[in-house]
Symmetry: C2
Subunit: 235 residues, 2 copies
């Protein structure tokens, strides 16, 4: 088993996804939100690319989350905070979601054998599954508007550390991120305050979301893409 | 002063180079070779993009270095090993150079106010100059065929550490690389054995080049692009 880390959507075209499992990573916050919503009983999450597409679902009566630039888009049911997607609100429902970075990455990965969603909330469940299935893995960091970001990159390192000797480190980005995670893991929260996105969150007054999104194994579920929907993988 | 790290040529388009100083980094080996050749008395280095262009210079009687995929291209005077560019061979001469990654990055940076060449060989001289000139800095890692690589990324971290409090860390890649450098600096040579490029060098039997290219401050010169040529900046 070989695992490679892709640090930005702009770099994905250098990698062949065929026959591999892609883990889409957008820790702050799309993939954390997807884990939370499915763990809280949502039937499925439908990731869509544009606010327009999200509007058309809303018009048909769906529950819809829409975020751009870190903020909820006016007129939708949710933004992109995992704390909004409570059991009361999403239980038994199909939820449509569009975000600045994360949902686009899911759509970019369709050539892969399987597309999973990763976040600190489901780190152990995700890693155990990857070890069991034995296919090559692409850890695909959404970043922020095509730039590399700290939290997604570090999470890729956390997954590699959890995979341990089950995997080879397939590219230099993998080597770098597992080393950086080893250095920083005991001070993860403090270190993430250096992230540009954390600074953005402070400006938006949503710092509590960072603590939530760093809660390791809080939501032990495994979202997987089936057709155009993310659903829970039976474990 | 603000310093940003660009980890791959594919990411450069996300950054505005105007008014900034770009440091092109291709530690193994183009930018180390350029430092060595100029330190050994070459009058200038003319970076060219294609082997064809290099051939036309060769036909006109120039000394020409050409490397593709880590190996010297047949029919040229040099490959891309800094150890080849001795004072006896390059002293007083204009040398044309084309390499797989590094020379292309110089050409991609023409919008910048100034284009410098960085390697471990000129780390302190480069860093002192950057501190003095007070412009914003882009540390542009050539990588390997558009993928992120370990040695260039770590060198970006080394420069940031040398700049210290003179600079703000302008993006998450800068935050990550200075942290990774701090973790790895005491075991740099051993850590670089993890790099894909180091493995490539082992296959090619040119491991000695790695030790040479990691010799900090061995060549205290500052190559700068003037017109279409790299020359020594008077210090």
């Amino acid at each position: 088993m070989n695992s490679e880390v892709v640090l930005s959507p702009l770099l994905l075209k250098e990698y062949d996804l065929k026959g591999k499992v892609v883990v889409v990573i957008d820790v702050l916050r799309a993939t954390s939100t997807i884990c939370a919503a499915l763990a809280n009983g949502a039937k499925s999450i439908i990731p869509v690319l544009s606010v327009e597409e999200a509007h058309s679902y809303k018009a048909k009566g769906h529950l819809v989350g829409a975020e751009r630039n870190g903020e909820k888009v006016e007129g939708f049911d949710f933004g992109n905070s995992p704390r909004e997607y409570s059991r009361e609100k999403v239980g038994g429902k199909n939820v449509v979601l569009t975000t600045t970075n994360g949902t686009r990455c899911i759509r970019m990965s369709l050539e892969a054998d399987e597309i999973l969603v990763g976040s600190f909330l489901n780190l152990s469940v995700l890693s155990s599954y990857l070890i069991d299935q034995k296919k090559d893995v692409i850890l695909f960091c959404a970043g922020w508007k095509d730039k590399v970001n700290l939290e997604d990159s570090l999470f890729a390192g956390a997954v590699l550390r959890a995979l341990g000797t089950s995997t080879k480190l397939g590219n230099d980005a993998a080597e770098m991120m597992v080393a950086l995670y080893d250095c920083m893991k005991d001070n993860l929260r403090a270190y993430l305050d250096h992230a540009s996105h954390a600074k953005r969150f402070k400006r938006l007054g949503i710092e509590e979301d960072i603590d939530y999104c760093l809660s390791i194994d809080k939501m032990p579920v495994l979202p997987v893409l089936e057709g155009n929907r993310l659903v829970l993988k039976p474990l």
